[in-house]
Symmetry: C2
Subunit: 295 residues, 2 copies
Amino acid sequence: MKKILAFDIGGTKIAYAVTDENGNFANDVVKVTTPKTSEGIYEFFKTVVKGLEDEVDGVSIATAGAVNNENTRIISHVGNLPEGYNGLDFMSLTDKPLLLENDANSAAWAEYKLGAAKGTRHAVVLTLGTGVGSGIIVDGRLLKGKSGAAGEMHVRFDSGEHRKCTCGLWDCLETYVSGNALTTDARLYMREDMTSYDVIRGLKDGNPKAREAFDHWQSCLENTLVLMGNIFDPEVIVLSGSMAQFVEYEKINKQANHDILTRPFELKQAVFENNAGMIGAALLLAERLRQEERP
Amino acid sequence: MKKILAFDIGGTKIAYAVTDENGNFANDVVKVTTPKTSEGIYEFFKTVVKGLEDEVDGVSIATAGAVNNENTRIISHVGNLPEGYNGLDFMSLTDKPLLLENDANSAAWAEYKLGAAKGTRHAVVLTLGTGVGSGIIVDGRLLKGKSGAAGEMHVRFDSGEHRKCTCGLWDCLETYVSGNALTTDARLYMREDMTSYDVIRGLKDGNPKAREAFDHWQSCLENTLVLMGNIFDPEVIVLSGSMAQFVEYEKINKQANHDILTRPFELKQAVFENNAGMIGAALLLAERLRQEERP
């Protein structure tokens, strides 16, 4: 059984653990605060890798940012990580096989191989967190595009509301469907100082303004499901990330499947939570190691 | 060299010709008016196929509507063809190999193998006609999805303008980017009795209202390019169909590539015009025949 040292790096935390090729962790997941400089991040990776590389067959890193098709480097600017991060030479960390993959793609791969999309060939996994990410499985393969950056959910929902997106454009899907979007709806439908938490709390308390805010957010999510359903005709759309738990699955599943032109998909909540990225990138590396072993 | 009897069937015309496996026609393309009943269509196919099947290695049909992954039958309602059309038993037309494929997918395959997307592995072909169709090539393969219906461009552009779409929903992309959409813009920006033709004529005459109408239409097309660029990260986006000739390629290419988060794509006009569907479906069949011959 292969062993992989699996990392997941985000803007606030780096998590790591040793996992087997079925995504079972050999130890508790360690979490540390992400260092403030790219040099600090590199040194941290180096220290952990040096300490554990003799025990493992390879190193996988799930990361924010688009990763090239060779899984060796980051090809896009990564807003929530320090300057210089996207230029780091990850391949110099170890002589063992090392695989880098985007965190949303990695999470999607975990759901596809072992989670909510297991047994399918066509799946869309949407990560609804602060922003919106996606990982798309087309006939059993991760959609990467020419450079590795496919699956960016920055699509203009030209709604005329004029919400500024983190990508620099206006009215992207992300500004209507993310956690931040629900805070925008809280301000619009409730009060200027309200956030997404107030919407969720208000929903439980039967607050009609909170219901309006949530319904607006959820109707934008339904538009997103129609978009992905019509373009990809997937067997399943999986929702992950911090906002996934609040979605009214039965209702929105029915509505979206009524509105698509393709055949019905299943809407499911992700099986893996925070560790999906680590597991998915480790599975991708384990698969590559097995392929390289074939005679 | 294999010979294929290639058909393309649409709501108004059926075209057919014998082609070799490189898409070269052996004779002039014959065009007839589409019969008004599904029985009439079947009888017409049957007559032509019976007359020519001894001369060819197979029959290909590019058709409106989504086609299943086995390329044997239509799986969706086809609005612009007579009732019962989607239930036709195409496989009973001949004992020779027969392949059915959606017309936009077929046209995309022709552009990918021999046309504007030749030499790439990742391409999006948008057909801008009365409606909007798409054929998408992901790493050298046609994107079909679980049932064969992938690539439906019915995506809600939630713009608040409330344009009714032929699919039954409101404010689909198709209502902003098609030929019909430009007629809607002509009415909005010019006069109630104006059409897309008046916009194009007005543009040449320097009419500022026509320019406004066209700019609105073209900005919606640019949104569509950003959508497809961000989701698929293609090497090339090809525009085909009757509206493709009017697009200001250099301008919109620059703008869309400025707005995407992925790596730049090339925007190109399709090489094949009306015969792209026939050629593409014939190429797909020729490829299958070659695969079946392999030892």
